[in-house]
């Protein structure tokens, strides 16, 4: 064993490139260990340790981006590809995971359920999604996706004592398995086509994104390749909740524990768009099919999401269906990426705005002190502003940002997408998007109306002195979390320098 070998190993060692993911996995394992070795009284600290650990990892990634020391290029024999976008998705998934950890902490504290497993699975899912966003190979993509999805099956049915949660879990399992099958079938077809030695551009490793793109460029008329692409897109459409693969969303969002709903709404959706962004490069040879397909999906998704949300009174269903329409707006972003070079920045900005707004909204919902969070309705928001003005303001900012109202981050996100769509001359899509925004105002407004406007409905009855409404105690961590989400939403609404310089610099 000479030193040369070690040196060579050190030079070609790409394990350090996935440090954040490894650290997440280790943190997840150490949580389980901590549960065993810590005395029972100290178990309450485990969620906090999870959050702290993730903050450290987030700090590592962010400093890496700011100093530009993170690696760029292929690793693990082409399994992963590291670039700026992937790093930002890492930040996104970590941020989402930290917020969900906080939600889980609040939500699980009220219940007699095993706690540590929730955070363990959450961390594993996040690590898998971080790898997914940087996958450069269909095998890697599928393994990462399934790791996350299996975790989701458990988290959706985590409230095992409530039937709705179990029902949601079963629905998600069946629908998820179906979509994974479709995706896998698509991948197999692409593999079969791409490794056919009779065709030009075929290769042994035909599931590598680069190789596959090369093959499709050489054989743009290959039927198998085309069917494979359609099936792969369908599998992804399930993840993002695009029409017609959105049918699971209302029920699963409603039944799942609130933190899991947040994770589904934010991370699972973003994972789909991370995949779509890389697919737009893989399938660039098939763009005559790829983009019309996405356009149809986007139109139907926006219309369905908004119109279906109009009649809902269950908060989690409203948020779920509004999330469907957000998926539609993001699909427009993906379509514009064909011609507008900064469209991926717009998508990322939109996603971050969506993350912050969702974090604010879900943090408010988790504090509503409802035993069964599956039947949170608009009525439960009544008097919120009176119970706790801070929560009311946070809800207003979160919902306002989701609705795309200036001066909040959601507006800038929508604006960037609109400008990109106009540049790409997608007038029809833009029209649909406008209709979607106007319709969405109705139900977002409904949420705010029940939180604020019904405030003094008993005011005229002199006799009826309202009994003192119990206030809501947030605790220091709660205030900090909500403050971060709302301040971020406000800041990105009128001052985007940190974000844009970060992306462009």
């Amino acid at each position: 064993m000479s030193a040369e070998i070690f040196q060579k190993i050190a030079e070609t060692n790409t394990w350090s490139w996935i440090m954040p993911e490894l650290a997440m996995g280790l943190l997840a394992l150490s949580l389980l260990v901590l549960e065993v070795i810590l005395p029972k009284v100290a178990h309450g600290a485990i969620p906090r340790i999870a959050i702290l650990g993730q903050l450290v990892i987030l700090g590592h990634v962010v400093t890496g981006i700011c100093t530009g020391t993170l690696p760029v290029g292929e690793a693990f024999g082409g399994m992963l590809f590291f670039d700026e976008t992937g790093q930002l998705f890492r930040v996104f998934f970590l941020g989402a995971s930290i917020f969900v950890s906080y939600l889980g902490m609040v939500s699980l504290d009220k219940r007699t359920l095993p706690q540590v497993e929730y955070f363990h699975i959450l961390l594993v899912i996040t690590a898998a999604l971080m790898l997914l966003a940087q996958a450069n190979h269909f095998v890697m993509l599928f393994v990462a996706l399934e790791t996350a999805t299996v975790g989701f099956y458990i988290l959706v049915s985590y409230f095992r004592h409530t039937t709705v949660s179990l029902e949601a879990g079963l629905k998600y399992l069946i629908m998820g398995a179906l979509s994974s099958t479709i995706l896998l079938f698509g991948i197999v077809l692409l593999y079969g086509a791409g490794s056919n030695p009779a065709l030009a551009g075929s290769s042994e490793d035909s599931l590598n994104f680069g190789n596959l793109a090369g093959f499709l460029a050489a054989n743009p008329d290959d039927t198998l390749g085309l069917i494979g692409m359609i099936l792969v897109i369908s599998g992804v459409a399930f993840k993002v909740g695009a029409f017609p693969f959105q049918i699971w969303i209302p029920d699963v969002y409603q039944g799942a524990p609130l933190p899991t709903t947040a994770l589904l709404a934010v991370s699972s959706k973003a994972a789909g768009f991370a995949m779509l962004l890389s697919f737009s490069k893989v399938f660039s040879a098939l763009e005559d099919w790829f983009y019309p397909l996405l356009t149809a999906l986007a139109i139907l998704t926006i219309l369905f999401g908004n119109f279906a949300a109009l009649t809902q009174r269950n908060l989690k269903r409203v948020i779920g269906l509004s999330g469907v329409s957000h998926a539609g707006f993001l699909l427009i972003g993906v379509i514009t990426a064909r011609t507008v070079d900064w469209a991926s920045i717009a998508i990322l900005f939109y996603l971050f705005a969506y993350l912050l707004a969702s974090a604010a909204v879900f943090s408010v919902l988790v504090h509503l002190n409802k035993d069964d969070d599956s039947d949170l309705t608009l009525d439960d928001l009544g008097d919120l502003a009176k119970k706790n003005g801070f929560l009311g303001l946070a809800l207003a900012i979160g919902v306002g940002s989701l609705a795309g109202i200036p001066p909040l981050a959601g507006f800038i996100g929508k604006l960037l997408i609109f400008i990109a769509a106009f540049k790409a001359e997608l007038y029809g899509l833009l029209g649909v998007a406008i209709v979607g925004v106007v319709v969405s105002i109705y139900y977002y407004f409904g949420i705010l109306k029940s939180a604020f406007f019904d405030l003094w409905k008993f005011q005229t009855d002199e006799e009826e002195v309202p009994t003192a409404i119990p206030g809501i105690d947030l605790g220091f961590l709660g205030k900090l979390a909500i403050l971060l989400a709302t301040a971020g939403t406000l800041l990105l609404g009128f001052y985007q320098s940190p974000f844009s310089s970060w992306l462009l610099g």
């Binding site: 001066p407 609109f418 106009f422 106007v438 109705y442 407004f445 604020f452 844009s500």
Partner: protein, 506 residues
């Protein structure tokens, strides 16, 4: 000139800072909240008057007090680009004055949760100052929305009858209008290829290579109907009377008086100069829809029995004159429109405020249940008559509206003779409903309902606290009425430097 650029920034920032301060000083009691908020409204007036004093009308078409801040969207050509020109300065001053009156009136109101009410109102004021000071058309839109959102909230929480329905309807209509105009602005941005939302850059760019006719046509259409909804262009006006009827009076004052002028201002300063050929195509549409505003809405206003609704309809009706003046496309007509925007902002705010004061005394807005108030409250009656006369546009002693309307009429006569008949019919209509309202509210016998309500709430004339905001508006109104030149000079200079308007004049 740019020495005072920071004053422009301050007039936007001060109300917003004051808004947040009101929330913090809430625990110190009501007077602290009142002092902070009134300061937040008063400082912009001082700044605006100061800027007016130092404005040099000979600034050749360009903007004075210019400042430019990068907010991080430089990559798509957006920056916080502030400045004032001859058209925006009078509106900027008017916005600050109406804001002060509305703020003074709100600060003494009995609204529940006063600090939150004033918070919304101050945020709105910050947005309003920003609207007229923005050279960047995206920020122009952004500030409009910033002012619009608090309006919905104020209607929804502190509104009167039907507030939920009114707030919802306003929100949906105005969002629709805002989205259409946003797409129109994006269309100009993308199609011009200037890679900038800066109005000056866009103008220079489009002067060299104007947009293709087809693009101008649909972009102008988007802006016309987008702004049109916001300005309550017939038949898209139905949100306005309903919303104003339900809105708390300070919100109605700021919205009807100032914020609604956003759309007209957008047409005058952005849409027409940038898309002159598009204007040529839509000219006829504007004329016919404006006639709908004047005649149809005028007749509806005549049929109103509710004082506040009637004022709401009359304000919608007056927008018709503004659209006609714009359609005339001359320095005279458009200059008249800008002058009328200033005057109308003052009068409609005054009317909303006075009608609420009437309501405090009669406990109703139903005109059939009022009568004889002049005997009990002569000062209120005098102010009301004065405001109503101004609103009708009578050539009274130095009433500002008259000068605006007369210039519009002259321009309309040059433009299409026969339109003058319709316009005169409109004057008759507004005289009928205006004078009838005065008669039924203030004169005649006291109705039984009024006598009943007096037993519960004794009627007194206006207190000094009520008189101050009224006097502020009336004094400015008379000042502009007697010395219209102070305002029109800068407006005309600015408009003459726009080739679109100057051309037609020759």
């Amino acid at each position: 000139m740019d020495d005072f650029a920071s004053l422009v920034q301050f007039s936007i920032a001060v109300p917003i800072v004051a808004a947040f301060l009101t929330l913090f000083v809430k625990s110190w009691g009501r007077p602290a909240v009142q002092i902070v908020s009134v300061t937040g409204f008063a400082l912009p007036v001082i700044f605006a008057l100061f800027l007016w004093g130092f404005y040099d009308p000979s600034t050749p078409g360009g903007y004075a007090f210019v400042s430019n801040l990068d907010t991080g969207l430089e990559m798509i050509g957006v920056g916080l680009h502030l400045g004032l020109n001859g058209v925006s300065l009078p509106l900027f001053v008017m916005a600050s004055v109406v804001g002060l009156a509305a703020g003074l009136f709100a600060a003494q109101s009995k609204a529940e949760n006063l600090s939150r009410y004033l918070f919304c109102l101050l945020i709105m004021q910050g947005g309003l100052m920003g609207v007229f000071a923005s050279i960047d058309i995206l920020f122009f839109y952004f500030f409009h929305e910033l002012a619009l959102i608090p309006t919905f909230i104020m209607v929804g929480i502190w509104g009167g009858r039907d507030r939920n329905y009114a707030a919802m309807k306003m929100t949906i209509y105005l969002t629709m209008g805002a989205m259409l105009s946003l797409v129109g602005l994006i269309a100009i941005y993308v199609k011009s290829g200037a890679e900038s939302f800066d109005l000056i850059t866009l103008k220079a760019h489009l002067a060299e290579m104007p947009l293709a006719d087809s693009v101008q046509k649909y972009a102008f259409g988007l802006l016309l109907f987008g702004f049109g909804i916001l300005v309550s262009l017939w038949p898209l006006h139905t949100w306005a009377p309903l919303g104003y009827g339900a809105a708390p009076s300070s919100a109605a004052m700021l919205h009807a008086g100032v914020l609604k002028k956003f759309g007209l201002y957008g047409l005058v300063q952005v849409a027409i100069p940038l898309l002159p050929d598009g204007m040529g195509y839509w000219d006829n549409w504007i004329v016919w829809l404006a006639l709908g505003n004047i005649l149809v809405v005028g007749l509806i206003a005549m049929a109103q029995r509710d004082l506040k609704q009637m004022i709401g309809y009359s304000s919608v009706m007056h927008m018709g004159y503004a659209f006609l003046g714009i359609a005339a496309m001359s320095v005279l007509g458009v200059g008249g429109v800008v002058l009328m925007m200033v005057a109308h902002g003052l009068t409609v705010a005054l009317l909303f405020m006075l009608s609420t004061m009437v309501h405090h005394r009669t406990q109703t807005f139903e005109m059939s249940e009022m009568g004889g108030l002049a005997k009990k409250a002569p000062v209120l009656a005098a102010f009301f008559v004065c405001a109503m006369m101004a609103s009708i546009g009578l050539p009274g002693p130095g009433l500002a509206n008259f000068w605006g309307e007369i210039s519009i009429f002259l321009a309309v006569y040059d433009f299409r003779n026969w339109l003058v008949y319709a316009v005169v019919a409109g004057i008759v209509i507004s005289a009928i409903y205006g004078l009838r309202a005065i008669a039924s509210v203030f004169y005649g016998e006291e109705t039984d309902e009024f006598i009943e309500s007096q037993k519960e709430v004794p009627v007194e004339d206006m207190s000094w606290a009520e008189r101050v905001p009224v006097l502020i508006l009336i004094i400015v109104m008379f000042f502009i009425g007697f010395f219209p030149k102070t305002v029109t000079e800068s407006i005309n200079d600015a408009l003459e430097s726009e080739p679109v308007y100057a051309q037609v004049e020759e």
